[in-house]
């Protein structure tokens, strides 16, 4: 068996382990599904008339608008949970088992990211199902839903890279867990939960340049209107940027960890 095939098998096996680990540890699963679902329910139940505000984009319902935000929150927390799980592996010595195996050490990171991407996929499907059950329509139909799913899945992988980098650099689950509020802050100063036109300064300007806004707009666009090439392209570029940053930081952190033991 060639080296690439072996490494792909390892990535798949580690990805499967990562998924099982998340489903078996409620404290990893809760932030990915339970919290965003509750927040979605509270926001759509309590602030549904916000869609009548001047400047609010034309949408069928507040739920239709909020689905992209819930997916974004879920994928961000999936990335954070992936980082926590990797840090736990480091703390309990499980990564030593992986480092002592004759594999490319970066497959350890890729395996974790594969698991995070799968959780992103699960989150996308979960919130699409909730939306459809509660009457939200996907304006651009199946192609739009597929674009949203693809963006959520790849963005989960990209964000997971940053979580993995922090885990590898610090080796501390509590440090990665401590980033949980920061994740929410970065998310709240994007267009995930509020239209940019309704924000006040400086949040409005920050949201304009926040890469997460590009991603969330790319996810939301096919749901509330039609597929827009430019919105999708901006989202893809933002995800590529986050992924590149995450992978470079992960590679550097991995090298540092291997060097220092």
């Amino acid at each position: 068996m060639n080296s690439l095939a072996t490494n792909l098998r390892v990535v798949r096996a580690l990805g499967m382990r990562s998924i099982r680990q998340t489903f078996r540890r409620p404290q990893l699963m809760a932030p990915i599904i339970v919290f965003p679902t509750l927040l979605l329910a509270i926001q759509t139940g309590g602030a549904g008339s916000a869609i009548n505000l001047p400047g609010f984009p034309p949408v069928q319902s507040f739920l239709q608008f909020m689905l992209a935000g819930a997916m974004m929150q879920s994928l961000m927390l999936a990335g954070n949970s992936g980082g926590i799980a990797l840090a736990v592996d480091i703390e309990m010595g499980f990564t030593d088992r992986l480092f002592a195996a004759p594999i490319s050490r970066f497959t350890i990171v890729l395996g974790r990211l594969a698991g995070t991407a799968a959780l992103g996929l699960f989150a996308a499907l979960w919130f699409l199902a909730i939306g459809l059950i509660f009457g939200a329509e996907i304006e651009s139909g199946v192609p739009g839903a597929l674009i949203a799913i693809a963006l959520v899945t790849t963005c989960a992988l990209a964000v997971g890279g940053i979580g993995a980098a922090i885990a590898l650099r610090t080796g501390s689950a509590s440090v990665v867990q401590g980033l949980f509020p920061l994740v929410l802050v970065v998310l709240f100063i994007s267009t995930a939960f509020f239209p940019q036109d309704l924000m006040i300064e400086p949040a409005k300007t920050i949201a304009e340049y926040n890469p997460l806004s590009f991603v969330v707009d790319g996810i939301r666009d096919p749901m509330i209107s039609g597929i827009s090439g430019s919105e999708t392209l901006d989202a893809v570029l933002a995800i590529a940027g986050i992924a590149a940053l995450g992978l470079v930081l992960s590679a550097r952190a991995l090298r540092h960890r291997v060097r220092t033991g």
Binding site: M1, R20, D96, L98
Partner: protein, 323 residues
């Protein structure tokens, strides 16, 4: 051909040397016992030999491969069971062994077969589908050992495989290590238990403060020490006087605790009556008396000036820290 060759191996953390100039050689098919207290440099040495930590000086080869330049070839040849079995409590035993087989590049069907065989071998077949977090300490160590064997390694590194285990579990691990060695596997075993090194190892290296202070077969090391000693247990108030009396008969050794006197004697059992008479004449009551043949602890005392097991009792948990 030696399975492990270590020459001048060093590892410094900032300015502190955890390992300083270790030299050793382990022959193919040998069990090498690496004995020392916490913080002596055992784990740091093992981590360098298993490619988990880069040396800052010296060189080492394992199974003929340089641990720095040919790290992946080393990792193909070795099995590793590290201190505090590094297991995922959420996985089942079967999942762990199968994952380990995948990590070693073993095809899926073969990996499943080997997992079943190994779980049977370490008597975990019935618990194979239970989560590792529900296993006892002994079961976890046996699983860790099985995982290290999935690719039939030439050299097996066991870092304190029985620390914290009850005597029955410890014996089970010993039997498995002996069986593996009989099958031709070279075993590098670190331990802080004298009895473990004495029972299992063909050769023993004693490490203290990052340096090898003695090396040889357990028998040759004990022969170096030479004479047996008499261990006397006395009332605490009599210790100083007893030491004075016994010091005139043989050489006093560092005491294990506040109620014992250890005196090395040239003629073994033949010297006991003389010691008893002298103590009786001095009016010192003896609670118990035992003739003790040289052990690896005596070797340790001779080389380091303190008892290994006493050191373990006095060392606060987790200190000093080994990388």
């Amino acid at each position: 051909m030696p399975a492990i060759v270590v020459e001048g191996l060093e590892r410094a953390f900032d300015e502190v040397f955890a390992v300083q100039g270790v030299d050793l050689a382990v022959d193919e098919g040998e069990i090498y016992g690496f004995l020392g207290p916490n913080g002596a440099g055992k784990t740091t040495t093992v981590r360098m030999l298993t490619t988990l930590l880069l040396p800052t000086g010296g060189r080492a080869t394992v199974a003929g491969h340089d641990v720095v330049k040919e790290a992946r070839a080393v990792r193909t040849s070795i099995g590793v069971a590290l201190q505090e079995a590094a297991l995922d409590p959420l996985m089942t035993g079967r999942e762990l062994i199968r994952l380990q087989a995948t990590l070693q590049g073993i095809p899926t069907a073969e990996g499943k077969r080997r997992a079943d065989d190994l779980l049977e071998r370490v008597d975990l077949a019935e618990a194979a589908d239970r989560r590792v977090g529900d296993y006892s300490g002994g079961m976890q160590r046996r699983l860790d050992l099985a995982a290290a064997l999935v690719h039939e390694p030439r050299v097996l590194f066991l870092d304190e495989p029985t620390t914290g285990l009850d005597p029955v579990s410890r014996k089970t691990i010993w039997e498995e290590v002996r069986a593996l060695n009989d099958e031709g596997t070279t075993v590098f075993l670190t331990t802080q238990y004298l009895e473990e090194a004495d029972q299992l190892a063909d050769n023993v290296g004693i490490i203290d403060s990052g340096r090898i202070v003695a090396e040889g077969t357990p028998e040759s090391l004990k022969a170096e020490i030479g004479n047996p000693h008499i261990q006397l247990t006395l009332d605490e108030g009599s210790i100083a006087r007893a030491e004075e009396v016994c010091g005139g008969i043989g050489k006093l050794l560092p005491p294990k605790d506040g109620r014992t006197v250890l005196v090395e004697v040239e003629n073994g059992a033949a010297d006991i009556p003389q010691v008893v008479r002298a103590l009786d004449e001095a009016g010192i009551a003896v609670e118990s008396l035992e003739l003790v043949r040289p052990t690896l602890d005596d070797v340790f005392v001779e080389k380091t000036g303190y008892h290994l097991e006493q050191e373990e009792e006095e060392s606060p948990e987790g200190e000093p820290v080994e990388a």
